[in-house]
């Protein structure tokens, strides 16, 4: 039996059409726009003012709270302005505008390709380096990594899972990273493993990436000869199934443990980090290089030039698109992220964030929602739901706003993966409606907690 999660899931066509495109650095744009809200938690506080000269890797904003992260300049140049600017979602957030002049890096950042395989012993220093490097979870949630790696007292980590599933169709940046920077990813994993007390580490990769599986196995074998610190790291081949990369689903698939409703992964002894995050940890700890760039897949059936680009944080989307030949005329939707959970964007002046993993172009035919018809009670939504919920029921309860019944039927457990809406033959916008119901339940739960 192949390794996979136990409930629900779907098998969309994986459409990894950019899988053969090596990661190439994109030329630095003339101006970058660096938002101070690139992570979950409190926005960072700007450290620079207009007129300041900055170098690549220089902190331009500091954490605004415990759950927050440093933001660094991704270019060298002059700060033009610090103020509100529309982000990917069209929401205004404080943004630092920097006019690029040359490419001068901060002292102390190792920009060479030399591999550093020694794992530092002092966990405190390592964690501080991760914090100073502005490392956040790059799998989508952008949760500050140093916080995740400091489990609350009383909890015990038993396994580190490196998430290389990349179960969303189209996305290939993690796959390319595994192929091209496999050593760095494994060293990053070993560093995180060390911080967590030397727990076993599983690198989970889906079976549609056999080259990556072979390569990482080879890398691990090579590194084991260098240091015993690499013992206990292994690759697990996962069945291809969406949403395997979901944190709860992956823990279930790898460890056969289910995180309870409302619980954290650490409650079952798991810490999950994404492949790109492991690479960022390597850069921050071994090379003193904060997150100033990240790999972005630019793809779509209608997009003439598939690419995996290394993009400086804060690069305007329009600059990326123009550098690859401009918008395809038949694209009606641009998505930041994958087609299942990504966000549709209309503001192409917006700039990339640390967590921007992909730009996907879809045509009307590929993304059209067909008119809704009667529910035929086929149960396909319930079969597909990886949380074991009943979307057909939550849909009805949400429409009549029965918050109590919604909570009884676990609407708050919905991870918004989109499997229900994807599978509905009657084209009922299940997730759209359930999101509204879930929001009401969350509100009710929160107000109860405040009363206590």
């Amino acid at each position: 039996m192949k390794n996979t999660f136990s409930i629900g899931g779907i098998h969309p066509h994986d459409n990894k059409i950019s899988r053969d495109c090596a990661i190439t650095p994109l030329a630095t744009p003339p101006t970058v726009y660096i938002s101070v809200a690139q992570h979950i938690g409190a926005p960072a506080q700007p450290l620079v003012k207009p007129g300041d000269k900055v170098k690549v890797g220089q902190p331009v904003a500091e954490p605004g709270g415990f759950v927050s992260a440093f933001i660094h300049s991704s270019v060298s140049g002059t700060v033009k302005s610090v103020g509100p600017r529309a982000d990917l979602a069209g929401k205004m957030s404080t943004t630092i505008e920097i006019a690029v002049e040359g490419d001068e890096w901060m002292d102390g950042i190792d920009t060479s390709d030399t591999l550093i395989t020694d794992i530092p012993e002092d966990n405190k220093t390592t964690l501080e380096k991760i914090r100073l490097g502005g490392v956040v979870g790059l799998g989508g949630a952008t949760f500050p990594t140093h916080v995740k790696l400091s489990p609350p007292p009383g909890s015990k980590c038993e396994m580190l899972i490196i998430n290389g599933c990349e179960c969303e169709p189209y996305l290939t940046s993690d796959f390319r990273t595994l192929l091209e920077k496999g050593e760095q990813v494994v060293i990053g994993a070993a560093i995180i493993k060390q911080v967590l007390g030397g727990v076993p580490c599983t690198i989970a990769i889906e079976e549609n990436k056999p080259e990556a599986i072979d390569h990482i196995n080879e890398v691990i074998a090579r590194l084991r000869k260098v240091s015993p610190k690499y013992d206990g790291i292994c690759v697990m081949t996962m069945k291809m199934r969406y949403p395997q990369g979901g944190e709860k689903q992956l823990i279930d698939a790898v460890m056969h443990r289910q995180v309870a409703s409302g619980g954290l992964p650490i409650s079952v002894g798991a810490v999950v980090q994404n492949v790109a995050t492991a690479l960022a940890v390597y850069d921050a700890v071994q090379k003193n290089k904060p997150i100033i760039d990240n790999s972005v897949t630019v793809t779509g059936g209608c997009f003439p030039k598939q690419a995996n680009l290394l993009v400086r944080v804060g690069t305007p989307l329009s600059y990326i698109i123009d550098s690859l030949g401009g918008m395809p005329s038949d694209a009606v939707k641009v998505i930041s992220g994958g087609p299942m959970m990504g966000k549709a964007i209309s503001n192409l002046d917006a700039a990339t964030l640390k967590g921007t993993s992909s730009l996907l172009f879809l045509t009307a035919e590929e993304t059209m929602r067909k008119p809704e018809s009667n529910c035929i009670r086929c149960g396909k939504c319930a079969d597909a739901c990886p949380m074991g919920l009943e979307p057909f029921l939550l849909n009805k309860l949400s429409r009549i706003n029965d918050v109590e019944a919604l909570e009884d039927n676990a609407a708050q457990d919905c991870i918004e993966c989109g499997c229900c809406l994807y599978s509905c033959p009657a084209n009922i916008p299940l997730l759209d409606i359930i999101r509204m119901g879930k929001a009401e339940v969350m509100k009710a739960i929160k107000s109860r907690q405040i009363k206590k």
Partner: protein, 327 residues
């Protein structure tokens, strides 16, 4: 500003639609339809045509003139109902009675409740049962079929009818079987008396396999019906083989295969969860055998499905699938 569409995720959709699923069911019924026309002759084709046409016309008329909504006949579900109804009646049934059956199936059992997805009872079965109690003589009148190629199809009553009648006259099951020359190979290959849907076991099973391969339905309801029928009749047959028919006979005769593969698996009127589906199947299987053994009608699949249809809402409430991370 750009003309880009912004909408919530997900941004892609599976290729399944109500229409594609129903079309798959129609395709799965094609072997049985061909088989029935071959064995019963062109008159069966006429019954099929009248049944499907009446179903479509009625659904169109109800949506257009009574509900004042866009017509829903494009979803193909009325075609499925029409074919199933035709397979459930004698090929000699007067066409006006076929049309009445279609009217009850679509008009009363389906559209009254709000159309596809809202009905409590399987429309085709509701139509058939209505005809059975309203026109009992026409519905149980079996004439020797000509067959397309003048095949040597067997005349006379359905095996289940023959058994019921023979038992009433005091014969034993074994004698009745011998008298009519029934054997199981014959039953598999459509060479027995009965309505179209009762005589094409292999063709129906082929369609069922197609539905499984296409992932239109899951096998649990059907398998639990078969298993329950086999097990229940095995017990009774083991106790008294002169009075009760054996499991093979019960599996191969009557509308069991059609009912278990195509009618009990109807999305709308079957439970949502696998657990619920298994209980549903057990209920249908058990009731079918009980009606066949002890009821006044020779065949009980239709009644069993209708009875179990009515408890589906309860099964949906009681048997839910396990939620992630909740024990």
């Amino acid at each position: 500003m750009s003309n880009l569409t912004v909408s919530p995720s997900p941004h892609i959709h599976s290729k399944d639609s109500t229409r594609s699923l129903m079309t798959d069911v129609v395709i799965a019924l094609v072997p049985a339809v061909i088989c029935s026309v071959v064995f019963l002759g062109l008159r069966e084709l006429l019954v099929l045509a009248v049944s499907v046409a009446s179903c479509l016309l009625l659904e169109w008329a109800v949506t257009r003139f009574m509900m004042k909504k866009p017509s829903t006949i494009g979803d193909m579900s009325a075609v499925v109902t029409g074919i199933l109804l035709a397979l459930n009646v004698p090929y000699t049934l007067p066409l006006w009675i076929v049309a009445i059956g279609a009217a009850v199936a679509i008009g009363v059992a389906k559209m009254t409740f709000g159309g596809l997805g809202q009905n409590v009872f399987n429309p085709a079965i509701a139509g058939r049962v209505f005809l059975l109690v309203s026109y009992p003589s026409q519905m149980t009148h079996w004439e020797a079929p000509q067959g397309l190629f003048g095949a040597d199809a067997i005349t006379g009553p359905t095996p289940l009818g023959a058994i019921k009648e023979g038992l009433l006259q005091g014969s034993s099951v074994k004698d009745i079987m011998a008298e009519h020359g029934y054997n199981y190979g014959q039953m598999l290959f459509a060479n027995i008396g009965g309505s179209a849907g009762e005589i094409c076991a292999l063709a129906l099973l082929a369609g069922f396999v197609y539905l499984l391969v296409r992932r239109v339905i899951k096998p649990w309801i059907t398998l639990s019906i078969f298993a329950t029928v086999a097990l229940t009749s095995l017990i009774f047959w083991g106790i008294n083989p002169d009075r009760f028919t054996d499991p093979c006979f019960n599996l191969l005769t009557g509308g069991l295969i059609l009912g278990a593969c195509f009618m009990a698996t109807d999305y709308v009127t079957s439970p949502m969860s696998t657990k619920g589906g298994i209980i549903f199947g057990v209920g249908i299987g058990f009731l079918t055998v009980m009606i066949r053994y002890f009821g006044s009608y020779p065949e009980g699949v239709s009644f069993a499905i209708l009875i179990m249809n009515s408890v589906v809402p309860l099964l949906n409430r009681w048997f839910k699938q396990k939620k992630f991370g909740r024990s």
